[in-house]
């Protein structure tokens, strides 16, 4: 028998681990169950998005944006095409504007459903995950009848969308929304108000306001910390200024403001707000019109640069595009909201137990495709 080492142990969580939401590796130092230091190691899903963009034409980049945040591909398309349209000063038809908002909000619901479901998995609840996937599935069905794809859509094009809404889409959407509102009650019964769930998520991994701002955390994670900041409201893009909806913020209902439960709750509430937006959009949408009307012959923005940001389900998704007037961009930089959220992890999760670290990671709702790009 040699000396018994009682010092800290280094543990690698991932890249193959059920709860890292992709291929993330967390290098942690543990003293028993207590985690004293966390170093996220990223890059396992790096696919040279930004370098690829330098050699592709503007239209060809759209499918690449899909693959960044593959959970919310519509929202990624949306930000990119809006940026290019702003550079080229294209006015898209009214119907296209509404279709885009409907799709983006549907995708936001689908993305949040996945976030909440996998968060439930991290806490150990299996059933809510499948309940949520049941509804997510129906949204994917709607996307499928529209553009044929279920995950990576390449749906929004510069100046329009790839396909018009199919016959029956509006009715199917209304039907889904009605049932979805009923189903959210089920989620709250089985997960949100479950005593064990609250014990596990309330007061855990509190992200204070100032820390959130320092790290540049955005989206539901920021709103969970009690800051009312939503680009759809504060810097309305597209036609978001035409809709009435609220921006839910974390209030510390079950614990303190900015804990995991608040982040969870903000997402749950945001789904209801998205339902409101979709309903208004479906009501107001022009019933006919050519969605290909404003498609430019050649996508060739004038020389210059633009930074355009939209509210993706994960937060401020920004595109910085430099054009030198050719068929493809000189540089495309994507500002990833999940990246900033992950960067705050070591700050808020140090000192918690191993189980909590994974819950906190789950509550930040990161997508590795977007972090590594």
């Amino acid at each position: 028998m040699g000396l018994v080492h009682a010092d800290e142990m280094t543990l690698n969580i991932g890249p193959q681990h059920p709860s890292t939401h992709g291929v993330l590796r967390l290098k942690v130092k543990t003293d028993g169950e207590i985690i004293s230091e966390i170093t996220p190691i990223i890059g396992y899903l790096h696919r040279c998005f930004e370098k690829h963009c330098e050699t592709l034409s503007y239209e060809q980049i759209i499918p690449f944006t899909d693959r960044c945040d593959y959970i919310a591909a519509m929202n990624n398309n949306f930000g990119y095409v809006l940026a290019i349209e702003k550079m080229m000063d294209i006015q898209v038809p009214e119907r296209v504007k509404y279709i885009r908002v409907i799709m983006a909000e549907f995708n936001r619901i689908a993305s949040h459903l996945l976030a909440l479901g996998t968060f439930g998995l991290d806490v150990g609840a299996y059933t809510p995950f499948l309940y949520m996937f049941r509804d997510r599935e129906r949204i994917l069905d709607l996307f499928e009848i529209t553009c044929g794809a279920r995950l990576l859509y390449n749906y929004m094009w510069v100046g329009g969308v790839s396909h018009d809404l199919p016959i029956g889409f509006v009715e199917a959407s209304y039907r889904f929304l009605d049932e979805f509102e009923k189903n959210t009650k089920e989620y709250h019964n089985i997960l949100s108000y479950n005593k064990i769930f609250i014990e596990r998520s309330a007061d855990v991994g509190v992200l204070p306001k100032d820390v959130a701002i320092d790290y540049g955390v955005t989206g539901p994670n920021l709103r969970g910390s009690g800051i009312k900041w939503d680009l759809r409201k504060d810097e309305p893009y597209s036609i978001y200024d035409r809709f009435r909806f609220n921006v839910p913020v974390g209030k510390g209902t079950m614990g303190s403001v900015g804990d995991c439960w608040d982040r969870y709750w903000v997402r749950a509430e945001e789904m209801n707000e998205s339902v409101k937006i979709i309903r208004q959009a479906l009501d107001k949408m022009p019933r006919d019109g050519d969605v290909h009307e404003a498609l430019p012959k050649k996508v060739r923005p004038p020389k210059g640069s633009i930074y355009f940001r939209t509210e993706s389900p994960r937060g401020d998704l920004g595109y910085y595009i430099i054009s030198d007037g050719k068929g493809g961009p000189t540089r495309v930089k994507m500002r990833s909201p999940a990246f900033t959220a992950l960067s705050a992890l070591s700050e808020i999760a140090s000192g918690w137990m191993l189980s909590d670290v994974l819950v906190i990671l789950g509550s930040l709702d990161i997508v590795l495709g977007e972090i590594d790009r």
Partner: protein
């Protein structure tokens, strides 16, 4: 049918000078095969039931293979059979860094805990392998055997996740054994016997005119003792919400991360065997064992078996229901539930039952 019965039956037609030791060994072997068969059948049925029930709870259909061959049969009935064949055929992997001997022994140690505990399980009025006068004490003692296997497996795997799982499991099982044992002591007080059959027989008759005189209904203290035992029992078999030793989303698979094939199947078998033990003790100690719920109706040897299995199935169903409903507790919360909630209540309960037996019973 006890081991003694089997020996007497053999002696009735074998020459009188036949060695009693070899007779005893044969009788024990028969009982052991019967218990192993029970465990195996239980695992087959319970796994299928759990998959179907969880599917029903989750808005899925579960295993639904159709047709002959190695498909899962109609309604997926052959799913567990197919799984078993798959597990047998799988490559047996022992990590190079593992402690080979301990790694090989560990699954059997865990299995042994559940296996020998079932020896004292009364399946019917005279259907028990070994009718000991200290039956419940014996079961409590040997069922904690499993934790040694878990720690062995965790240590021998030489994997940090396994080690986490093993340490958690040791802390958990030892903590929860105390409230479990205390609530069973309450039952022992009520029946004033340690024998499994004796405890069941003490629960004959009715209470308050219409309810069967089972310990759960006998008095308010034993009513609470039932819940304490059941919660602690669920914790002892490492099932949700107390499944932190294997906590999939945290520890990958906990103490059996490195195991595969048949070795892993033994963990699985003993998990379901342990469920059987806990459900069996719950039924014996609180739900009247093989007694019929209505006095004098449907009683007898085979009805006894029927009632025992029915009640056991009900208890296992509740465990399955728990598993697919609840999230998982954190390790420190788990400990505080055991030491700060269950233990004081169990102690108070024991005191209450003692007073009750003194004054009323």
């Amino acid at each position: 049918m006890t081991i003694d019965n089997i020996i007497i039956w053999f002696q009735s037609w074998l020459p009188a000078n036949f060695s009693i030791i070899s007779l005893y060994l044969v009788a024990v072997l028969i009982a052991a095969i019967a218990i192993f068969a029970i465990m195996a059948v239980n695992a087959l049925v319970a796994v299928y039931a759990e998959r179907k029930i969880s599917a029903f709870m989750q808005d899925r259909i579960g295993p639904m293979g159709q047709g002959p061959g190695l498909h899962a049969g109609k309604w997926g009935l052959l799913q567990t059979v197919a799984d078993t064949i798959k597990l047998i055929l799988k490559e047996d992997i022992i990590p190079r860094a593992a402690d080979r001997k301990l790694f090989i022994i560990a699954p059997f140690v865990i299995f042994l805990g559940a296996f020998i505990a079932l020896a004292a399980m009364p399946w019917g009025p005279n259907l028990i392998a070994a009718d000991m006068n200290i039956g419940i004490f014996y079961i409590l003692a040997v069922s904690s055997f499993g934790v040694i296997g878990i720690i062995l497996a965790a240590w021998a795997s030489d994997n940090k996740w396994s080690l986490f799982g093993g340490m958690r499991s040791a802390a958990q099982i030892i903590s929860y054994e105390i409230p479990a044992a205390l609530s069973l002591v309450a039952v022992i007080l009520l029946g004033s016997t340690l024998s499994m059959q004796g405890i069941i027989e003490s629960q004959a008759g009715t209470v308050w005119g219409f309810l069967p005189n089972w310990n759960i209904f006998n008095n308010p203290f034993s009513f609470f003792a039932f819940f304490i035992y059941f919660i602690a029992g669920v914790a002892e078999v490492n099932r949700t919400p107390f499944d932190i030793p294997e906590a999939e989303s945290e520890l990958v698979a906990g103490f059996h991360t490195e195991y595969s094939g048949m070795r892993w199947a033994f963990f699985f078998l003993s998990e379901y065997g342990n469920m059987l033990v806990v459900a069996g003790i719950t039924v014996v100690a609180f739900l009247g064992g093989w007694q019929s719920p209505i006095e004098g109706v449907m009683q007898g040897a085979w009805w006894g078996l029927f009632w025992f299995l029915t009640k056991m199935t009900g208890v296992i169903m509740i465990m399955i229901w728990f598993r697919w409903t609840f999230p998982r507790l954190r390790v420190d919360q788990l400990m505080s539930v055991a030491w700060k909630v269950l233990l004081p209540i169990a102690l108070f309960n024991l005191f209450g039952v003692a007073i009750w037996t003194l004054l009323v019973g």
